[in-house]
């Protein structure tokens, strides 16, 4: 009884699952045979944002669009493009938002300066708190 119910529900659920199975992206979940290229592709994917999900990289998203983008990246890597070229292409297409890797854009400078500023502020506050030993 339980088994038939399962089959029935699986049949009902089938179309729901199929909805996300758009035209297959051949390299979405298939590794590049060359390990070095796959490593490059993987490293890039981990820094590209999935556009249809909530704050995930395309390297760990089930969304079909993330799969398409993974496939694109692997194909381009195999065609010999460098990862930064591909990132540039993705940014020109989807905007800065697509890349988790902060670019050299001046709007991001404060982000890189922040840790230094905080460290300097901390040291400034500490100045005079720690004294050198007077008698040794």
């Amino acid at each position: 009884m339980r088994y038939w119910l399962a089959l029935l529900l699986a049949l009902i659920a089938g179309p729901l699952a199929a909805q996300t199975a758009l035209p297959p992206a051949p390299w979405a979940d298939r590794q590049i045979p060359d390990a070095g290229q796959e490593r490059q592709a993987k490293a890039l994917m981990e820094t590209i944002r999935c556009l249809t999900c909530q704050s995930q990289s395309i390297a760990d998203s089930n969304a079909s669009m993330a799969g398409d983008m993974r496939s694109q990246i692997r194909e381009r890597i195999m065609a010999g493009e460098r990862p930064e070229q591909i990132r540039g292409w993705l940014i020109s297409r989807y905007g800065d938002w697509v890349s988790y890797e902060p670019t050299a854009d001046p709007i991001l400078w404060p982000l890189w300066l922040a840790p230094l500023a905080l460290l300097a502020l901390g040291l400034l506050l500490l100045r005079g708190r720690i004294v050198r030993r007077k008698d040794a």
Partner: protein
């Protein structure tokens, strides 16, 4: 009737909180000390009422009472009872009621058990706790009533997000909330001490157990949440630098810093103003985190209960409490004398470095999390994620590990640099050996994982060094606590480094009958069958996994379909070995009976969470050890006076 009783209990508790605030205020400032004896009973009654309200909401969920709006929109009668129960806090209103209940009960606990604090400070603390509670009561009652009815009741509920239908939901949010909201006690202590001018070593000793308890729970909650995301999201990641994760990390960073600075205050009467500031910051970070998560202002994988309109309410609360506390700090801090300065070579210096680094990491996480919001205001959408946080927080955390190794091996007050260097000799030798071995090992690894692993080994050894040449039976329990917590940091770091350096990934499309080989594992894909659970059906693969020709073990990765609400989730199959974890995910069918599979072999990945548990265990030992010692001292003193 249950829902109405719950609502009444909440209103009554809110009224008692108001009364508690007035009693404390007029008792201390209005020249009516005869009011003060009433503060503690009122705080206890308030805490009990919030507990009753929360228990009643759980009852409504367990009974699947669909005439209650919250149950109808978030539950389903077909769910297993555990998820009906845990589903109580798997939504906005329920989780806010949990927040208020924890806050009420934390206040009641302070009223019941706090004995070490000066009486006027104790009363002011309870008044402050009531003042914070009031804001959250208002939030709950005016904009997030969990007990609202729906008429006519629907035939059944809409169900709970299937990603949340996991035993993790029963453990992770309550633990995290106990930690989050437990920090409100430290906040109230700080406010109470500022108001009554009582910032000193005795105050620090009274506050320490409360900070420690909240920190232990926060540590456990984050560890559990990380493991849950790791196995449930199905991509093998354990930390994503997602805004919600950052929201839980920030209070933890502040609490960790506070824990160390409060020790300096308790032991050496130093860092007074800084400790008070950190106590304010820690709970402020809890509130900021709640605001970020609840308002939906930042997108997150883990946000399951979001309502932008309520965000502004929390924002107002934030402004009132954080602004108020900082104003009080600015106004009163001149009355707090700083303790004596430290010698350069002393344990205090290491603890100050610890506080500096933790604060900078906290600042970086906060700025990185909010930065996309700021640039968006200028019409420029950017993403700040793992590449930024790893690169900035990673090196800072590694520097912190050095302080962690050296601090406990340096004496309080003053030490000689040569003696410290001598004590660090063995870990330093281990560091060099590990560095050389890894440099010549036939593996490719990044600089950060390499440094991480080398440091983890050296710091692991250094963390045990405080026990060398001591009589182990006579060593106080809290020293063991520190040693174990520090060892936990090294263990966790080793797990993180191994995971990022040695993980092997394999993606395949396999037919039943195929054999897959990767990283010393042989996986035979036997068959794929549909199965049914209580409220889901699934396609389940039967696979036989064996490592290096050993005996095969059957594993079952699943792809689950939930009917209410209609969703597919992947249930990864995990096979844990002492030296790592095999992680298998079943994906979609690609073509004629070929199934997409993702397989990872993750060497030593479990150390990440084992380390987290060790850190919390160390905290627990320190808590028990300190309390026991305090109790023993009191008992001996009493016996001495009687004799």
């Amino acid at each position: 009737m249950i829902a109405e009783t719950g609502l009444a209990a909440l209103w009554l508790a809110a009224a008692l909180a108001l009364l508690q605030l007035f009693l404390a205020f007029f008792g201390l400032k209005g020249g009516k000390p005869e009011l003060l004896p009433a503060v503690r009973p009122v705080a206890i009654a308030q805490g009990l009422l919030t507990a009753v309200a929360f228990a009643l909401l759980i009852t409504l969920f367990l009974r699947s009472d669909m005439s209650v709006l919250l149950v109808a929109t978030n539950s389903h009668s077909m769910k297993p009872w555990l998820y009906k129960f845990a589903g109580t806090w798997g939504n906005h209103e329920g989780s806010m009621l949990l927040w208020v209940a924890v806050m009420g009960m934390a206040g009641a606990t302070v009223a019941l058990f706090e004995r070490a604090l000066r009486r006027d400070t104790h009363m002011a603390t309870l008044g402050a706790q009531a003042a914070i509670s009031l804001g959250f009561y208002a939030f709950l009652l005016f904009s997030s009533n969990p007990f609202a009815r729906i008429d006519p009741p629907p035939p059944d509920g809409q169900g709970l997000n299937p990603l949340l239908q996991d035993p993790g939901l029963a453990f992770h949010p309550p633990t995290l909330y106990l930690g989050y909201v437990g920090l409100s006690v430290a906040f109230s202590f700080a406010v109470g001490a500022l108001l009554t001018r009582a910032v000193d070593a005795a105050f620090a000793r009274a506050m320490r157990p409360w900070v420690l308890a909240a920190w232990i729970l926060l540590t456990l909650g984050i560890t559990a949440g990380s493991y849950w995301a790791y196995y449930e999201l199905g991509w093998g990641g354990w930390w994503f630098w997602d805004p919600v994760e950052n929201a839980s990390l920030m209070p933890w960073l502040a609490a960790t810093a506070l824990l160390h600075s409060v020790t300096v205050l308790a032991t050496r009467d130093g860092l007074r103003a800084w400790t008070v500031m950190l106590a304010v910051v820690a709970f402020s970070m809890s509130m900021v985190g709640t605001f970020l998560v609840r308002s939906g202002i930042l997108t997150s994988v883990h946000a399951f209960a979001v309502d932008p309109e309520r965000g502004s309410f929390i924002l107002v609360l934030l402004a009132i409490y954080i602004g108020g506390a900082l104003a009080l700090f600015g106004w009163r801090i001149r009355t707090v004398r700083e303790g004596a300065p430290f010698d350069l070579v002393s344990r205090e210096t290491w603890l100050v470095i610890n506080n500096l680094l933790l604060s900078v990491i906290l600042g970086v996480v906060l700025i990185g999390t909010l930065y996309p919001l700021m640039t968006e205001a200028f019409g420029h959408k950017v993403s700040v994620g793992a590449p930024y946080f790893d690169r900035i927080a990673g090196p800072l955390a590694l520097a912190l590990m050095v302080a962690l190794a050296a601090g406990p091996l340096t004496r309080w007050r003053r030490d000689s640099a040569r003696a410290v260097a001598r004590r660090l000799l063995v870990p330093a030798v281990a560091l060099v050996i590990a560095a050389l071995m890894l440099a010549f090992a036939p593996v490719r690894m990044g600089t950060l994982p390499w440094l991480g692993l080398v440091l983890a080994i050296a710091v692991g050894i250094a963390s045990l060094a405080p026990l060398w040449k001591r009589r182990l039976l006579r060593t106080p329990l809290f020293t063991y606590g520190m040693v174990i917590a520090h060892l936990g940091c090294a263990v966790s770091l080793a797990g993180m480094a191994c995971d990022s350096a040695f993980t092997v990934e394999k993606l395949v499309a396999a037919r039943p009958g195929d054999t897959i080989r990767t990283a010393g594992w042989t996986l035979r894909f036997v068959q794929i069958l549909p199965i049914a659970g209580d409220n889901w059906t699934a396609l389940q693969a039967d696979m036989q996994a064996s490592r290096n020709g050993g005996a095969p073990v059957t594993i079952h990765p699943q792809s689950r379909f939930f009917a209410a609400p209609p969703t597919t989730t992947t249930e990864a199959a995990l096979l844990t070995r002492w030296n790592g974890q095999l992680y298998v995910v079943l994906g979609e069918e690609v073509e004629g009976n070929r199934w997409q599979m993702r397989i990872w072999w993750k060497p030593f990945v479990t150390l990440i969470w084992l380390g987290g548990i060790l850190i919390a265990l160390g905290g627990a030992l320190a808590l028990v050890g300190r309390e026991r010692r305090g109790w023993l001292i009191k008992w001996r003193a009493r016996r001495a006076t009687e004799a």
